[in-house]
């Protein structure tokens, strides 16, 4: 592992502000604890199934961090599941 890289998997509750465009949603801002991150890019969105439950993962980044966000479409709950900071 590169000594300067922080890469962690987690499952932390977060607040996310989103934009709705047609049938798509785009995360705009993430509040994780006391920190707030403005999303610059949504790099990839992928879906997954947990039984009948539909989950969406948003791979997003700002200028300094990569974050993977998990949206449970049944409970509408957002979680921060991965962080990478070079």
């Amino acid at each position: 592992m590169h000594p300067l890289v922080m890469h962690e998997f987690m499952n932390d509750p977060i607040d996310v502000s989103v934009d709705f465009t047609g049938r798509r949603i785009r995360p705009k801002r993430v509040r994780w604890g006391t920190k707030v991150y403005d999303i610059e890019k949504v790099n990839l969105v992928h879906g997954a199934r947990e039984g009948q439950k539909r989950i969406f993962y948003f791979s997003v980044s700002d200028t300094a961090n990569f974050m993977k966000l998990r949206l449970d479409t049944e409970t509408l709950e957002w979680r921060l599941v991965e962080v990478y900071a070079p």
Binding site: H2, E8, F9, N11, N43, H46, G51, K53, Y57
Partner: protein, 424 residues
Amino acid sequence: MNRIILHLDFNSYFASVEQQANPFLRGLPIAVAGKGRHSIDVAMAHRGSKSIAIDQLQFQRSVVTTASREAKKRGVKTAMGTWQARKVCPEMLVIPGDPQKYGDVTARFMKILRKYGDAVQQFSTDEAFADVTCASGGDYMGAVILAQQIRADIAEECGEYCTVSIGIASNKFLAKLASESKKPNGLTCVQPHEAEDFVLTRPLADFCGIGHRIEKHLEKLGATSVATLRRLPLPLLLSEFKSYGYFIYNAARGLGSDELLPDEDPKSVGNSYTFPHDLKSSEEIYQNLLALADRVAWRMRKQNFVATHISGYIRYSDFGGYGFHRRCKDPLIDGLEIANTAWKVMEEKIDIAQGVRLIGISASGLLPIGGSNSLFEKDRRKARALQALDKVTDKYGSGAWQRAGTMKTSFKERVSGWHYDHES
């Protein structure tokens, strides 16, 4: 009319998807690791209750399922052990594979191909053929334009970092050889009149269907290149390779099948698993066999099949092992029945002292499920219980229930292979 076949192959697939998702990985040597001791199941980690720092993971018994272009340039190869890859490229980042992510991108890729192709055949998780004879107007220029449109759609739907190499030719063998010839992001069109000359320029190692063993065999016959292979007469190839000699003879001349195979019912349903540590007790081996058999049985029932044959294999820590095949008296539908049928054979032959590294179990001779017409209440009750358990799995996902006897087992999702575990 000659067909026009496209072969599309993602470049460094899993690594490119990871680099698409995380822009900070772009330009870096990275490797996507398969499951292994101390590796993690990404989907499970996302639902877990504790944070996991990647630099604490050791990725023992893990292999490189895909290396990024940058890692390949530094000598990292697919299927290398991660420890070996790190020796070759110490600065390489190892990322745990995320099959759900790759499965979703593969589904988008196939959807795009179906939009453009007259027929489509998926060849692996990151490769597919498309017959575009009609869609292109039977014209190679039309096929090139179509290929560019497909490439643009892939960039739009999967991300610009997920690039494909495309080969266009009159048959599948040649189309694949063409796509292999220019990476990454290549587009190679081989028209029928160019085929023989094009094949001459390619090394035999690039031929799909000529693996390391056949290549060595050909070398002994004096064929080290396509030109020398062409000098070998067909009767010699048939005597050396039996009917496979026809394929080799034709491949050297750029000839091959242009028929795209439709999705067919499976001939077997199987599951194998390499364990993070060697299993050294019969209890542990049976428990894992049962857990694997439950997975096989669930997939079989989901596709409405029962099995009439069971086969399996064991691999020991020294990579030796044995396999078996058993025909069943009655069709099997339950994981417990499958495991017990296999265990009857395995129990006598297994050499526990050697330590079991891998167990594989497969159900074949598949027949459609009939109704539960058994005269015996016990059988009807079991059928009802299985239906109820399958409903629970459908609703809450695999892992929603587990037999008490398999509680000590846990399987990480495979990263490589033809199918993703979460889709079965």
